[in-house]
Symmetry: C2
Subunit: 273 residues, 2 copies
């Protein structure tokens, strides 16, 4: 299907940024739906979108809702979506949406592809959205085949890399790369020493605690949808931390140096120096 | 004592940056000692220092060695240090150096003050040193009284804040703000998922693992000098991580949301949004 009209569901940080980017960098018609009507009014007023979204008119629909809400939306409105349309989401877990939405789409004659943009900030909401959030970013696409339409549309708004994988593998890797990072950051600030850090810290603490400020409603949902992989990651980190603690407590400089060297070598091998 | 000649012991990342900064931003005579004679030769050649350091000539000496090496240096050369001189160090733990060096200094007629610049990079060595490493940084000073000479000298090379505290409190806070951050970062990269991160990660993982690349010889010494405080921090983090893991495994959204909210509120309270 030739893409002319794109509809965006949910004008939060990601959906708002998608709309602004599509408006800035493409010629598509861009409409949107949000649960808060004032957001739509203000997005029309500031020129971010062309109007309110009617699903039956859209050649492509991008859901920027949390995974459960994407599923609910499609369960409710699937019959209003154009036959042959392409629907994708942007959620942080992929097994739930792909398991539920792919069959709904097949039944109703459109196509659903799970996707996850590797971009964001510690802030959320339309107020923080911006047209350049996706510059140079990677888009994870849960599909067994290449998706040229998605690469074309998302390539125009700044995405540089398209990673194809399964929903299962996405959730397994993301449990570590994104979810564990947020858990650790959020747990770090609970040290009784944290309030004393001003003047006693430099870049390392700042980096480790940047994402401690997070949207607890979104992450609670995402973490629970990925509970198997995420709890394995947390428990794996705990086991590793115990090794350092044991070497430090017992004053074992040989073991400690080797633990640190191991981590340094992995970092060097994967990311270079 | 009026400061005219400053000597720097150890031209690594910190000592080299101190020398370059003093040369760039002050009129002091700057000399240095390093265990590798070629470093001194090249530092003279590139104009970083005025020559090799003679302790008897220096009004102020800055040791940029690891803590144990600072102690050894002073034990060996204390008699050659000028009466009334000011000697400070830059090491990452403070109890060891202060406990050993303050009495040596008193016996030999000079003054020793433990200090710790809150600046650095994940790289080490003279090759990475630069004159602007300390711009806007904080200097922790282990002294019961104000040290105007230190504030004057270090203020000239970019330090903006001077935090006075005890060696004990320094080590307690730094166990968290710097040491724990390095342990966590180094442990994070040991997840079996880490090698798969390219294309599946954004800023949060990058931040969390930046300092995974570290100098294992320096950190082994610093961690073991601070084993009581550091192991308590690691164990505290482990206890907190277990709470998240338990809530996630059992699917308890109420507890999980509250754990995340708690962390978010602490971050907001201490650092703002």
């Amino acid at each position: 299907m030739h893409i002319n009209k794109i509809g965006i569901i949910g004008l939060g940080l990601i959906g708002g940024s998608m709309a602004k980017a599509l408006k800035k960098y493409t010629d598509y018609s861009v409409t949107a739906y949000d649960i808060e009507p004032e957001i739509i009014t203000s997005a029309v007023y500031d020129g971010t979108i062309d109007g309110e979204m009617l699903p039956e008119e859209c050649d492509m629909i991008i859901s920027a809702l949390y995974p459960e809400a994407t599923v609910s939306y499609l369960e409710k409105f699937c019959k209003r979506i154009k036959k042959g349309a392409l629907v994708c989401d942007c959620g942080g877990t992929k097994r739930l949406v792909c398991d539920k939405c792919v069959p709904i789409a097949e039944k109703c004659g459109f196509k659903f592809v799970g996707a996850h943009p590797m971009a964001g900030t510690e802030h959320s909401g339309y107020g923080f959205s911006n047209a350049d959030l996706f510059g140079g970013a990677s888009l994870i696409i849960c599909s067994a085949e290449k998706e040229p339409v998605m690469e074309e549309v998302f390539g125009k708004i700044g995405f540089k890399t398209f990673k194809y994988t399964t929903a299962e593998n996405h959730d397994s890797v993301i449990a570590f790369t994104s979810q564990l990072a947020h858990v650790v950051s959020n747990a770090m600030v609970k040290s009784p020493e944290y309030p004393k850090h001003p003047g006693y810290s430099a870049g390392s603490l700042k980096d480790l605690t940047r994402v401690a400020w997070l949207n607890e409603n979104m992450w609670t949902e995402l973490f629970l949808e990925n509970r198997d992989f995420l709890s394995a990651e947390i428990d794996g980190l705990i086991e590793n931390l115990k090794k350092y603690s044991k070497a430090i407590t017992s004053g074992d400089d040989v073991v400690l140096r080797e633990l640190l060297r191991e981590g340094r070598m992995i970092k060097e091998k994967i990311d270079g120096r």
